[in-house]
Symmetry: C2
Subunit: 109 residues, 2 copies
DNA sequence: TTATTTAATCGTTTTATTACGATCAATAAT
DNA sequence: ATTATTGATCGTAATAAAACGATTAAATAA
């Protein structure tokens, strides 16, 4: 997307937006869902599960890794991906708090 | 972004991703935050609050409206924007449930 | 050693996003 | 009637994201 003016916003705003953006694609939602359910988390299995090519899945995994939501460990010739449960737990708490702000509306409409 | 293959995913996956994507920009986080705090929610006030031009803010408001997170009512020559607290509450519950899935990890790593 | 498997990366195309100035339509004020 | 004011939309430029095939590097198997 166009260069977004992230310097103009707070760290917290950029953090919340950054993780939300990482989750903001159905394939990445599906990947997280898959990793949360399956015992196996080999990259190839994720590719098999999704209606996307290997290279595209690899890109989505990279995006999730960049956001800190998953980690990958090389196991021989394959790679084992896992959720970063701590980061997910933290984001859940942070976004919940943020979404609770408008709980008691003082707005004009 | 490239055309994303949303037809290939479930409604729930597209819904969660869609709202997350709408929240996935610091300016839109800032707008929601602002609307949650201020009594006034006139569009012009939002523009004054953000380090972005009027037309850019208008686009972000449009994105939030499209995701169902805010609504706007015309009041004379200005427009009053408000949070859709129901939609926000629903998303908070849904995303929390989703992020709770990996609570007890059965993964391999 | 050579062939195979696995997953990341490169290169490319298509489409979306971000951002802005300029214009436009509507309402309000003079 | 004319002139602001307000906020959406248009047009456009720059950049990022989505998707894929092809290639590459690494480890394993033959």
């Amino acid at each position: 997307m166009g260069k977004s003016k992230s310097e103009e916003f707070t760290d917290r705003q950029n953090y919340l937006a950054g993780v939300a953006k990482a989750i903001g694609h159905p394939a990445r939602i599906a990947i997280i869902h898959f990793l949360a359910r399956q015992k196996s988390c080999v990259c190839g299995d994720i590719v098999d599960e999704l209606p996307l090519s290997q290279s595209t899945v690899s890109q989505h995994l990279k995006a999730l890794k960049k956001a800190g939501l998953i980690a990958g460990e090389i196991e021989g010739t394959s790679v084992c991906y896992c959720l970063n449960t701590e980061a997910i737990k933290k984001f859940k708490a942070d976004i919940s708090l943020f979404l609770d702000e408008p709980a008691n509306p003082k707005s004009c409409c």
